[in-house]
């Protein structure tokens, strides 16, 4: 029970499961919370669980969740002295962090300088290079023209990636196989980057084939103390969206972990990093070579995986550090225990190429029992709006070993019941059964190369049960209508012939 509150009141400039996560952290720290919501999110769970809630505009994010002026105004009028941006939206916008500071509101995240440098991929690469961290081979300046492109590409070697300097989330990227496609694909990437980020700058990087996406959770405080919380493996991706993460990685041994951790901490120190952040690497699973990819200057979507294996509360720690407290950990205090897996529950149809689905959650039961954490923005009766990320929830499972963790994740997924909307739960169940995943033998091409995505036509062993259920239901309903007999809704009759074993096997 802290005698002095860290903050008087915190505004959460986000929605969905991450807003809930932050509100929970604030509640545990006894800090009142203010939710903001778009008109499309009136029914959202974060509105219900916060102490206060204010509408900040219409559905499109550009008119609500990205409106820095409105959000600052709500914060001031409601008496907030801090804002947590979550992930996405304004979390990596240096101007917003500066605006908060100018208004005397604490931005719960890193300093604007660190956000700005790391938001520019060229600058980020320069920082890494200056710290002697291996980079994905490629340019350290933005691309000037076609001639520059041909020359740089020839030096780097094909296949090549064209990447937006100011891009994130997989946008403004093109893979180039042959020199004759280069000019066209550079134009395409520039155009997409301009549409998404308002900037055309791109650069070239070697395309690392079949890499593993491994990232290091780092944490710094205002006193220059920086530590890392080991790695997460995030190679199960679909269109650059992470679907399943785990920690530790099956290919990271103590030696590699030490190297990655030190590299990440060096980079973070170089920019005076003072909050939670993530340094991403591509790693060659065979040679263990690693390459700095980029740094995310925010709370990671997948931070609960790290929380599970290191026993920390990164979200709460972020709030403490933002309030000026020193980091509560020394590097030597941080250790792994067991194994954790996170499954993203998205409103997407995995049998239909992950097509996003809006709709109403008609029924919901969530997994429980040992080692199961449910971070969710769902409730029964929620209409999932079509305007935002398809994130509904994250299932985070911990167990003593990776093998047990996979078994437990499978068990937990089978306990989920989400009615009225298609989700990625069946996809996650299939990954947990996939032999390559079980062996830890996978990379970022997993979904395309090692996995049978289209499974709509698979055998459904319980069709017989469905037939029996519906005819009895129809029979009871007909009987009730005819008034011939009164069905007993809660009958407790013993099935005497329950002894006869059926030969069928249940999944």
């Amino acid at each position: 029970m802290p005698a002095d509150k860290l903050f008087q009141k915190v505004l959460i400039a986000n929605r969905g499961e991450i807003a809930i996560r932050i509100i929970r952290a604030c509640q545990e720290l006894q800090i009142p919370t203010v939710a903001v919501y778009s008109e499309a999110d009136r029914a959202s769970l974060h509105v219900r669980v916060a102490d206060e809630a204010y509408c900040i505009g219409p559905a499109p994010a550009s008119r609500s969740y990205l409106r820095t002026d409105t959000i600052i105004e709500v914060a001031k009028k409601s008496g907030c002295d801090a804002i947590h941006p979550g992930y996405g939206f304004l979390s990596e916008t240096a101007e917003f962090a500066e605006l908060c500071a100018a208004e005397g509101i604490t931005f719960i995240g890193p300093n604007p300088g660190a956000i700005r440098i790391m938001g520019n991929k060229i600058e980020a690469r320069k920082v890494a290079a200056a710290q002697d961290v291996p980079l994905v081979p490629g340019m350290l300046a933005e691309l000037r023209d076609d001639e520059d492109a041909q020359q740089a590409a020839a030096e780097i070697g094909y296949p090549i990636m064209v990447k937006a300097v100011h891009g994130f989330g997989g946008k403004g990227m093109r893979r180039v196989e042959r020199p004759e496609d280069l000019a066209r694909l550079v134009r395409a990437a520039r155009s997409e980057s301009f549409n998404c980020f308002g900037r055309k700058a791109v650069y070239l990087e070697r395309c690392i084939e079949r890499p593993r996406h491994i990232e290091i959770q780092i944490f710094g405080d205002g006193n220059g103390h920086v530590v890392h919380f080991m790695e997460r493996e995030c190679s199960i991706q679909h269109r650059h969206q992470k679907m399943i993460e785990e920690a530790p990685s099956t290919i990271v041994d103590d030696e590699l972990r030490g190297k990655l951790g030190e590299a990440a901490v060096r980079i973070a120190r170089a920019v005076g990093y003072d909050s939670a952040g993530t340094v991403e690497f591509l790693v060659n699973g065979t040679t263990k070579e690693f390459f700095f990819l980029e740094m995310n200057t925010r709370l990671a979507v997948e931070h609960p995986v790290t929380e599970a294996v290191t026993g920390t509360d990164l979200c709460k720690e972020m709030i403490r550090v933002a309030a000026g407290l020193p980091l509560a950990f020394l590097q030597k205090d941080i250790a792994f225990r067991g194994h954790a897996i996170e499954c993203h529950i998205h409103a997407e149809n995995p049998d239909h190429d992950f097509f996003p689905i809006a709709g109403r959650i008609e029924g919901l039961r969530t997994p429980g029992g040992p080692g199961v954490r449910d971070d969710s923005g769902m409730y029964e009766g929620l209409d999932v709006p079509p305007y935002y990320d398809p994130h509904l929830a994250k299932l985070v499972v911990w167990a003593g070993t990776r093998e047990r963790c996979i078994s437990r994740t499978r068990r937990a997924l089978s306990e989920y019941f989400v009615k009225g909307i298609k989700t990625t739960i069946p996809f996650c169940e299939r990954v947990m059964q996939n032999e390559h995943f079980i062996e830890g033998d996978y990379d970022t091409t997993f979904i395309d190369s090692r996995f049978d995505r289209e499974n709509a036509a698979r055998e459904k062993p319980h069709q017989e049960v469905a037939l029996l259920a519906v005819v009895i239901k129809a029979f009871r309903s007909d009987k009730a209508k005819l008034g011939k007999s009164t069905p007993v809704p809660g009958g407790t009759t013993q099935a005497d012939s329950g002894w006869k074993m059926s030969g069928r096997i249940k999944r």
Binding site: D353, Y388, F417, V470, G491
Partner: protein, 171 residues
């Protein structure tokens, strides 16, 4: 009583009788099943069939006699009709047209239209790209045919179920 249940275009003739309250004898595919049936809420059933336990979620859709059934992650749609009524109904039903309407599976922005009216298309050919929930989504032709009416325009937002184009049977 006797029912005809349609599941995945297959028809099942099923007989059901109540032998005790909550206990039913069902004849299906030449086999007899003793089913211990329990409802906790309208749509949340527990079935014990020869000792095997199943939890079944079951909804009667608004449209009529189609049941939506969920069992351990599998989804079924079953059409149930009492045998006598079914016979009557089948006399009245008409054949279906091969014309396919392509509608927006969700609201979003039409980024790209890749066909024009009169185009011949293959089954599975990408017709247009819809941006929704920050994702690019390809809409494909469900059958081969000719593009009949094309309503979608690049850059114009569409609502869920809005007609985007029609694929007419070729020839």
């Amino acid at each position: 009583m006797a029912y005809i249940v349609t599941c995945n275009e297959e028809e099942w003739h099923i007989g059901v009788e109540e032998c005790h309250p909550g206990l039913y004898v069902v004849h299906l595919g030449g086999k007899e099943y003793l089913v211990d049936y329990h409802e906790s809420r309208d749509n949340l059933l527990s079935l014990i069939i020869n000792g095997r336990s199943y939890e079944v979620d079951l909804d009667l859709s608004d449209k009529g006699e189609v049941y939506q059934v969920d069992i351990q992650g599998d989804h079924f749609e079953l059409d149930v009709m009492e045998e006598k009524r079914k016979k009557l109904a089948s006399k009245l039903s008409a054949g279906l047209s091969g014309r396919q309407e392509i509608t927006a599976p969700m609201s979003g922005n039409v980024c790209k239209v890749l066909v024009k009216e009169g185009d011949l298309v293959e089954s599975g050919q990408v017709l247009m790209i819809l941006e929704a929930m920050k994702m690019m989504n390809e809409l494909k032709a469900p059958v081969a045919g000719v593009i009949g009416s094309l309503k979608a325009t690049e850059g114009v937002p569409v609502a869920t179920n809005e007609l985007l184009c029609v694929v007419e049977p070729a020839g």
